[in-house]
Symmetry: C2
Subunit: 109 residues, 2 copies
DNA sequence: ACGATATATATCGGCGGCCGACCTATCAGC
DNA sequence: GCTGATAGGTCGGCCGCCGATATATATCGT
């Protein structure tokens, strides 16, 4: 499966503990520094795709304050994919930093 | 403008020096460790969008070995966007590493 | 001489992910 | 009673990605 940045963030949001949909939205917003706000359509589309790919799975339902929470957790496969993608991102960021460090900003200072 | 990963890589490929289309494809492949191979449709679509957004601009045409090369270069605005996006990526990679259990090295990395 | 590969440009249509709009429902606060 | 936050989900449109296709030149192997 192709990991887009949004899908990656959802995986990352599930890394430390199982979360329900709305919790994933909040965690992604926090992880991205407020930059990425998942809409409902985006979230459930990604969640379905992650489950289909075997990267995540349902982890029970709980009723809290009269509201249903549907939890999701990472599978081992999903954790591997997350680790690999994180390594790829880190390597890219390192390369980019090196490239930008050696080249001063052109034009108006 | 929304910066996808492919568009980001194209910007990054233009960071150190102006390149022509085919050169960008090769540089992106190198920068991504062979993972990202831009097709023609992807490349010229991105290039047009970058120019429209004021992030890149044409930088002359040269004929080499009977083949036309159309060069592109970053604008100052594009360079700023690239720097900002790189910082965002680096921050995300750092957060992800910490979350996955990677112990941050004290002092020099 | 011929075909395959690499270089170099560009267009086009399909696929699919993203996203906002919308719907239902409960609870807290004004 | 209304609004906003919490919690679930569907749906249609927009648009970026990508392969296929077209055109053209230079090179290399057979």
């Amino acid at each position: 499966m192709r990991l887009t940045e949004q899908a990656y963030l959802v995986l990352l949001a599930l890394a430390d503990e199982p979360r329900h949909g709305y919790g994933v939205v909040q965690e992604v917003r926090a992880l991205s520094g407020g930059a990425v706000r998942l809409g409902a359509g985006t979230l459930y589309g990604i969640l379905d795709r992650l489950v289909s790919a075997g990267y995540a799975e349902g982890s029970g339902e709980v009723v809290v304050d009269g509201r249903l929470r549907r939890y999701y957790r990472l599978t081992p496969t999903g954790h591997d994919a997350l680790t690999a993608e994180t390594a790829r991102l880190a390597a890219l960021a390192r390369r980019a930093d090196r490239l930008l460090g050696g080249v001063p900003r052109p034009g108006i200072a």
